[in-house]
């Protein structure tokens, strides 16, 4: 029996298929039978653990290719397990374990918990499938499947008014459409849809269009500009575990995975080339715009959502340099981001669970009541701000290094982003946890959050420290081998100047915060002097009116188009209902009036008819 199982599991094909099928099965079980909390908890842990075991065993195996026999010719379901993708599988599986546990506990009393687990598990199945696919077309299938589950989760709470769901569907759908276009062009140019068989394509001409489309699709999934604006809306509407799971973790994994593969495997992106500059510009813009919007938010979830956008910018910037140090920096930053951002979303969820709100104007001084949550927040907040020796510092330094090597403008943009990040987290942390205790009026018994939610947060916080202090572990242990780099990027940053500049920026951020607190009188309004600065005020007003939101542009275009169609439709209706009918009626009346029953007139008509026939004959004969 055991032999059979072990031989069964030794076959790579079965492992791969189980990576896709098992989460879906567990999800269905949770959806069907997950009426009780305990059942859900067991199912969640079981599903995530099995998934993690499989992923680790794939990671330890040597790379292999599998083509599943049941498929039509040209669309073979080909899977390719090699170091890079199985590394991502392991990341996903580990993150899934934490998020799954957190979600079950967070949604303990919610009626839709089973549905949420169903969607989450199916999403994992889709992500596993997308990471494993060798065939770009098959990958696209799983990719779009993730869009479906995303839509479903966003619908859970808001069936009556699915604003966030529709927005996410439109924006992510547009990004996925671009990806599809890019995949078609790429497969056509390369002559094969299999990534493992592709020669690196040059980024120029038609292939350049393919590169741009695929890149937009990949970073759009990760939450970069211009497909980002659904995330803050989802922060208002969706359950908090969703934020930790999707914008915080899973979508970053998937999007960055594909972005790295595009740059390293599919296309030959040269450092310093025009396309590289373009990608870096996109990254820098994402950093600055995302963090600038985060700065003025007064709600924890919204603020974190904007940071989730902003941090993607660093990854895109790093990958866009096409330098090894940039790519590994981007990947490392992704890993770190998942650790601290998921942890941050989880602390926000804990606060929401205990106090019923995440509005910073209603809460304050929670450190006394929720010390463990506060500790997790402080660790992850320091990590995202890039304070040494936490993990965010090291990955940012790698990216700074790569940016500076490309162009100093990008470096300055990235520094500005770091400055604003630090400012906004100082504001948020002090507003929520420091100072006098402030609670919403109806809440009295606020205490530390439950163990089941605290555990994933603590694990992530520990990871934040571990990846910083012992950054050799992820960098040299996982990322470099997966990418095939021989050079070591671990350890303390080699350029002391960069470190000094970063520290100065952090110090400036602290100064700015103190200045802001003095000026406005409270920590929560510490960023107001930036918000209401002369020119920025107008820009922020415009941004809050959604003038810069591509979604609102799309909606305006759609509205204009539908108005145009309405006019055309009215014209057509008028033609059928009024013009044609009246023309026919008028002609009938005219003819009726002519034939008035007078025999003389009839005879004249007959003779005229003969004349007409004569004319026809003459016309033909002459």
């Amino acid at each position: 029996m055991l032999d059979q199982i072990s031989s069964f599991l030794n076959s790579g094909t079965n492992l791969i298929l189980f990576m896709i099928i098992l989460p879906a099965v567990f999800g269905a079980a949770a959806g069907l039978f997950g009426k009780k909390y305990v059942t859900r908890l067991i199912l969640a842990v079981l599903s995530a653990t099995v998934n993690l075991l499989f992923a680790v065993s794939l990671l330890q195996s040597e790379g292999f290719c599998v083509t599943v026999p049941f498929a039509s010719h040209g669309l073979d379901i080909a899977f390719n397990v090699y170091g890079f993708s199985s590394m991502f599988l392991t990341f996903t599986a580990a993150g899934f374990l934490l998020v799954s546990l957190y979600s079950v506990v967070f949604l303990r009393d919610k009626s839709y918990a089973g549905l949420f687990m169903l969607y989450l598990n199916i999403s994992i199945a889709m992500i596993n499938g997308a990471l494993l696919s060798d065939n770009l077309g098959v990958m696209l299938f799983f990719w779009e499947g993730l869009l479906c589950t995303l839509f479903g989760i966003l619908l859970i709470n808001n069936r009556e008014n699915p604003k966030a769901a529709v927005k996410a569907l439109v924006l992510s759908g547009t990004a996925d459409l671009l990806l599809m276009l890019g995949i078609i062009i790429t497969a056509y140019q390369a002559g094969t849809p299999y990534i493992s068989q592709m020669q690196k394509l040059p980024v120029s001409g038609v292939s350049g269009i393919g590169f741009v489309c695929m890149m937009f699709g990949a970073v759009g999934k990760a939450g970069s500009l211009p497909f980002h604006s659904w995330i803050p809306v989802a922060a208002d509407d969706a359950p908090t575990p969703f934020l930790a799971a999707f914008p915080g973790m899973l979508e970053k994994f998937l999007g960055i995975y594909l972005a790295v593969r595009i740059v390293t495997d599919i296309y030959d992106l040269q450092p310093g080339s025009g396309m590289s500059i373009a990608v870096m510009t996109l990254g820098t813009l994402t950093i600055i715009i995302g963090v600038a919007m985060a700065l003025i938010q007064k709600d924890m979830k919204r603020l974190l959502a904007y940071h989730a956008i902003s941090q993607v910018g660093y990854m895109v910037l790093g990958i866009g340099t096409a330098l090894p140090v940039g790519i590994i920096g981007g990947l490392f930053h992704m890993l770190n981001h998942v650790a601290y951002k998921s942890c941050l979303f989880m602390t926000a969820g804990s606060i929401e669970k205990q106090t019923g709100t995440t509005d910073l104007r209603k809460i304050g001084g929670l450190a006394k009541l929720m010390p463990a949550t506060a500790a997790c927040f402080i660790v992850s907040g320091l990590a995202i701000a890039g304070v040494p020796p936490f993990n965010g510092f090291f990955s940012k330094e790698l990216i700074f290094d790569a940016a500076l090597e490309s162009n100093v403008v990008f470096y300055i943009g990235a520094l500005l982003g770091a400055f604003l990040t630090a400012v906004s987290f100082l504001k948020m942390g002090r507003a929520a946890f420091a100072g006098e205790l402030k609670l919403p009026q109806d809440r009295k018994n606020v205490r530390e959050t439950s163990f089941g939610m605290l555990l994933p947060m603590c694990v992530l916080a520990v990871l934040c420290i571990l990846f910083g202090v012992a950054n050799t572990l992820p960098l040299d242990g996982l990322l470099s081998p997966a990418l095939g780099y021989t050079e070591s990027y671990s350890g303390w940053p080699h350029s002391a100047v960069l470190v000094i500049i970063s520290v100065i920026v952090l110090a400036l951020a602290v100064c700015d915060h103190i200045y802001g607190c003095r000026k406005s009188g409270s920590a929560i309004n510490a960023a107001d002097h930036i918000h209401y600065a002369p020119v920025l005020k107008n820009v922020y007003d415009a941004a809050e009116k959604q003038w810069f939101d591509p979604y609102s542009w799309i909606i305006h275009v759609v509205n204009a188009y539908s108005a145009l169609c309405t006019y055309i439709e009215r014209g057509v209706s008028w033609f059928y209902d009024v013009a044609a009918v009246n023309a026919v009626k008028g002609a009938g009346n005219l003819l009726h009036r002519i034939s008035n029953g007078s025999l003389a007139r009839y005879l004249v008509a007959a003779v005229a008819g003969v004349g007409c026939i004569v004319i026809i004959f003459l016309a033909v004969l002459l």
């Binding site: 026919v584 009626k585 002609a587 009938g588 009346n589 003819l591 009726h592 034939s595 029953g597 025999l599 007139r601 009839y602 005879l603 008509a605 007959a606 005229a608 008819g609 003969v610 007409c612 026939i613 004569v614 026809i616 004959f617 033909v620 004969l621």
Partner: protein
Amino acid sequence: MSAMAYIAVSFLVVPLIIIIINNLISRKAAGKVSLYMACACAVIQMASSVTDFFLLSAKHLHEYKFTLLWNMEEAGAEHFGVTSLSLVILFCIGFVSLISVLIAFKTIEHKKISYVNLLMTLILGMNGMVIVTDLFSLYVFLEIVGISSFVLIAMFQSETGLEGAFKYLVMSALASIFILTGLSFIFMYTGSLQYSQIGDILSVKDGSQQTLIYAAVILLISGFAVKTGSVPFHSWLPDAHQSADTAVSVLLSGIVIKVAGIYSFIVLTNLFSGVPAINLTLAIMGIVSIVTGALLALRQTHFKRIVAYSSVSQMGYILLGISTGSTLGLVGAVAHIFNHATFKSTLFANAAALHEQTGTLDINEMGGLQKKMPVTGFSNIAAFLSTAGIPPFAGFWSKLLIIMALWKNSMQVYAGIALFSSILTAAYFLRMQKKVFFGKVPAKYAELKEIGGSIKFAEIMLTIVIIGAGVCFPLALMYLKGRGIL
């Protein structure tokens, strides 16, 4: 004489015998049996034409020639002849006559003997037109048809009937002048009026006196157009149809205008196939008739007048089919002749039923009669859908053939207009259907009953024929293909 000869001769002899019997026996006896004799005549004619059709195709003959009492081998002797085409038309004559008699059972109370005498004369005239083989005999039988029609229109009702008949008489006189003059021109040119000889002479002679032939053709077209009732020679047709008794209207619309007009046009195009202007004239006349007839029908309020204008419109389709000059177009035209006979007979049978039950034919006074007269209502729907050319009704196939023939003949514009006019056809009939059969029932018709007897029988039979012909039409096409005609 062979069986075929007996059958062929019966087309002329049976109506004559019935006229003689009808007038020999006492008036009392004749009043009882005359309609049944007419019925028998129609049925015999249908049976004869079907039998002859299959005999002809079994013998692989194009035409069967026969005479009555003289020897056709003598020099200059005339002869009769039947072809597949003329047998189809003979069948239609019998069919419509049968419907007319069935309607007459209900609508005609007095003057039954005169009706039967005139009907027999009319059948004799039409049969004669179809089986003769020279233009002058065609003209003679045309006059027989015309004169019996005038009297049939005029004899039942006093004032309006007279007016309709008078208009028809005047217009027909004009047509007679045209036709006779045209014939004399042709005779001047060729020295013969036999179909076979005219064709030969025309192909041999050079163009020294072409103008004479063209003048003759123009006059003949005008004359036949009056008989067909195509625009702008249609003015007599609605009045005559409206004022005549329904049993007579169904004859006029169902078969007389077709034999007197359309069949003459078929003969004309066959004889003068070298004159392309004829085809163009017919096509233009057809299109104008289709559109004008439909537009005028939209405006009418009298049930039979709508149907009459619809006839003008439908004759246009048949003219279009003939104008292509191709076999496909001719087959389409002949199929449309048959289909038109079925659905127009249905509509007139419905008109008779409505008139019998309500006493009026003004569609504004009617309403909601579908519940009261379900059979009439349903047969009306079948008939007008067939007219509009909706599959699977019979009219769809013939219109399709005509439009296909037009298209193949690169007359796409005509095909397009013909296709679009189907919408107009549906429009005026839908209007009629809505006003008569849908909506609220007026209080005065609360006690209305469905018509019974022979008219109901005719309605049911015709509906079955319309639907059955529509469903079985592909079989007919396969038969034609098997015989190598298509």
